[in-house]
Structure formats: structure tokens, C-alpha cells
Symmetry: C2
Amino acid sequence: MLWKKITVAVPNDFDQEIISDIFMRVGAQGTELVDDENDNVKTKINSYFDENNYDEKILNDLKQQLKALPKFGFDITGVEVSVSEMDDSSWENEWKQYYHPVKISRYLTVVPNWVDYQPKYADEHIIVMDPGKSFGTGTHPTTYSCMQALELILGDAESMYDVGTGSGILSIQARQLGVKDIKAYDLDPEAVRAAKENIQLNPGCEDIEVFENSLLDGVEGKVDVIVANILQDIIQQFIPDIDRHLNKNGFVVLSGIINEKEALITEKMAGIGFVVLEAFHLKGWSTLICRRKEEYEAEDGAILR
Amino acid sequence: MLWKKITVAVPNDFDQEIISDIFMRVGAQGTELVDDENDNVKTKINSYFDENNYDEKILNDLKQQLKALPKFGFDITGVEVSVSEMDDSSWENEWKQYYHPVKISRYLTVVPNWVDYQPKYADEHIIVMDPGKSFGTGTHPTTYSCMQALELILGDAESMYDVGTGSGILSIQARQLGVKDIKAYDLDPEAVRAAKENIQLNPGCEDIEVFENSLLDGVEGKVDVIVANILQDIIQQFIPDIDRHLNKNGFVVLSGIINEKEALITEKMAGIGFVVLEAFHLKGWSTLICRRKEEYEAEDGAILR
């Protein structure tokens, strides 16, 4: 079968979620976020349409909606649209090109489910992922440094909410790091389906619960860790809910923030009584490890935990 | 025995190495760097003098030299000097207060040699340290995030230079992470002695070589990783030597840089053809993971390694 791949390339300071929204509005089933292979931090949002479901109208609608963005105050300078064709075999190769085993740290490698990967060390852990069509597998910097952060803070945590779980990878990692009670949420039913499938690929993770839900809306209860690897404007919406969902001495990990917006998020977190303890900067993106200021100050001498 | 402890408290943007230098010039045997227990990022530099070797002249000389700093362009606003007395028993308690087990990540805890610590997980590693008088054990943010960075990048590396090894902790960690050939250097003979002693406390590390040496002066050969947890002005001196001592596809980890000086180091590294891939910000300090730009760009799609 032939596929049409529409690519929107955006500069680093443009909100990718907006592009994904537009894709969905013109009829896409999902979108794929990939970094440009070059050194600059430009990101590409791809969507794939099989030839039976594609016509020129989709492309035109997309371009029209992009053109309308300046009306809403968005600067679309540097945003580029392109289309390419692929048959199924190149599709497969396309995926394989992007989704090779990814070393997150000395102790963790993410492996696509079609790769036979042998760990190099007895204490090396593996997460198996089916990249699917729309969700990352740790190769995007926001997911990558979010996983690094989880590796550094998890250990004593018993429970976690994974807000905007996408592929489910962070929940799988948290279970492997010993978190017993994990609930994952995503607004997108396709993400929920993908997360559930990936969870089944990783022994010991089967009971992680995934729900179709907008952020923590309507969620009751508290956890030891809240992780959110979503975009900065979505994180802002959700910050007011953090405090009442977090246990005493809990951690919050926020990712998906472009460096330029880090100060804004730090300020918003300060507004709810939280401090950023550590920030990771990776390819233009920031990941933040946060705690309640008061609790952190009371814990004399601790750096992170 | 009675001890005099002289403390110089410096605000975050003041170079601590200068204070250490002054301490050494007025007769100190070593200095200890500790974070203030409060939330602000003020740092204290302590030095201990036994009562037989202490007189008021030491304190006066120290104060005189501090007062002279503005002549050399240094702003000493916020620098405070204080003296306290301790007997041996309070000395011991003093250490115990600062040097409890420190969790660096899910996989690594640093344990003082007088503490009986039981790992919580089968794959949790331990580094045993004798805090000694003058060198950190992972509780200072520059060492802490440097260890985090090593955990993320080590795995394939065979060889490492540890420049300014201090307590030897980074070399011990690197060996535990599988680096076979490690050479550690320090200008200070006391550090060399302390590093050798700490190395002996950690099984499997005995053959790590420690040398009294200024940076990499006179050192021949190349390694896969160069780590330097020293201060930013010392790092600058040593940057021109990095390229010729680093194997193809090698990593450089630089720590001890205050956030405000990070851009300067990034620029100096760019000047020798290196990029900063990831930066960690912890309590006012930056730790940088660097590679050669050309090699990194050739490795299509890799984020760190």
C-alpha cells in the first residue's frame, strides 16, 4: 500500500501541540514527533495517510489553518510543510531508522519490539516498545531527559500519576524502578491504546492502569510522584492541581518545556509553593525536578532526596 | 584535643577557589566545601586548625587577604568570616551531621565508612567513603550532578582521566560502572592521599592510579572519558588540552561551574570544536556533558550516546 507522509517542520520555539491539533482537525489519525537529524533543534511533526484516505484537500486545509495562526498571535516564521510518498516497505524502514535501541543511562536501554537486543550488563534494564504510529519511544529529548530524571528520583516512591502518558514508557520505567501503584492518563484514545499495548510487552507491568482523561481532571487521591511529559502550555493548565494530588515529600517531574519557557514554569511552580531542585537541558528542552519548598527546606542537607 | 574551625561564607557568585587559595596561604592544611543548610545557595569554606597550630595571626592574615580582594577586581560583598571551637568528639559529630548516606540515583548510594548501610535493591550500588578532612563525598552539588552525568554516559567507555580527583569518588564510581583503565590526578598531595585511601575502601577499585599532578600537564595518551569536577576558572585553563587527550567519540564531563559561567564554558568548548549535549542545573551549579561536534553530528539520531 502507498502512504502519504505530510511533514510540518517547526523551529524549536514553536509549540508543536498546535501543529498536532491542526493535523487532527484535518483528519489525521495521529502524529509523530521526531527531531531533525541535523544539529539544530528543529522538530518535525509527521502524519501518515493511506492513499485511500488521502486527497489534496487535507494538505490544503492544513496549509490554510497554518496560515491562519498569525491571527491568533502565533509567529509561523520558519514553519515548513512537505509531502512525501512511501510504500509499506519504506514505511517499515522509516520506523527502523528512527527506532533503534536507545541508551537512556548505564542502567536502561529502550528496545523496539522487533529488535533482538542482549543486555551488556547484569544490572542493565530493558524497556520493550512497539513504536506504533504516533508515540515516542524515548528517542525524543523530552522523553529522554524525563527518564533520566525518574531514574534519579525514584526508589522510595510507592505511587505515581503519569499525566499525558503517550506511549506509556514512563509508567513502564517507573514500575521497573519499583513504583507499585501507577495510573497513567492521556486525552488521546490512540495513546491510551498504544500505552496499554506497550505495557503488555513488559513483564511485571501488566497491572498499570491507563485511562482516557484530560490531565488530572476528575482524578481523586494523592501519589508520591507526578510526572508530566507534555508541552509547557499544557503543564501550565495543570499546575494548580499538583499540590492536592501529591503526598508529603512527593516529587514532581515536568518535561516538554522549551528552555525559553523554563523560567515561566519555575515561576508558576513557585506560585504553588514548589521549588525546582534540578533542571536538565537537552537539545533545547528542559526537564524539571520539583518538590514543595517547605518540605525540602525541612530536610536538612538533602540535595535531591 | 581542641580544634579551631574558621568558616568563610561566600555567596553563590563568588569563586570559592580563591577562598581556598587564601586559606592555604595563611597555613591551612586543607579546606572543606559545604553547602549552607538553608535554601539559598550560599557556600561555606571551612578549615580546621588544631590548637597547637592556631594563633590569632592566621585569622588576621585571612581577613587581611580577603580585604585586599577588591584591589584585584573581586567583589567581596556578602563574604563572611567566623570562628568556632570544637573538641574531637564534636568534630566527629560535625562530620556525621554532614556525611550521612547520600542517594545519587536509584542505583547508587554513597555511604560514609562508619555507617552500616544495607542496600534496598539487588541492583543498588554503594560507594564507601571516609570523608576525611578536606574532600567531599558526593554531598556537594557539583559532585552530585557530576555523578549523575557519569551514570548516564558511562557504559561503553574503557578509559578515563579524573582531573582534580579530590576524594577519588568519581574514579570509584567509574570503575563500578565498568571503566577498566582509570587515572586520577590532583594538585594537592592531601587529596592524592585521601583518594588512595577511599579507593582502598571499595573492592575492585584497588588498581585505580592516583597521581599528584596539575591538571593534565605532562600527561600523555588518550582516554574515552575526561571528567573534571573543579572550578570554572581552572576548567578554562585545561580546555585547550582536552582534544588531544580524548579518543574518537569520547565524552567530556565538566562540573563545578556556577550557572552564570556556563555560557562562558560552552563558548570555550565550542572554540575547540565541542558541543554541550546536556546540562544539569543543581543549586546554582552547572554540570556539562560534552562531545566533539563533528562526531556527534555524524552519529545520526543519537541523543547522548
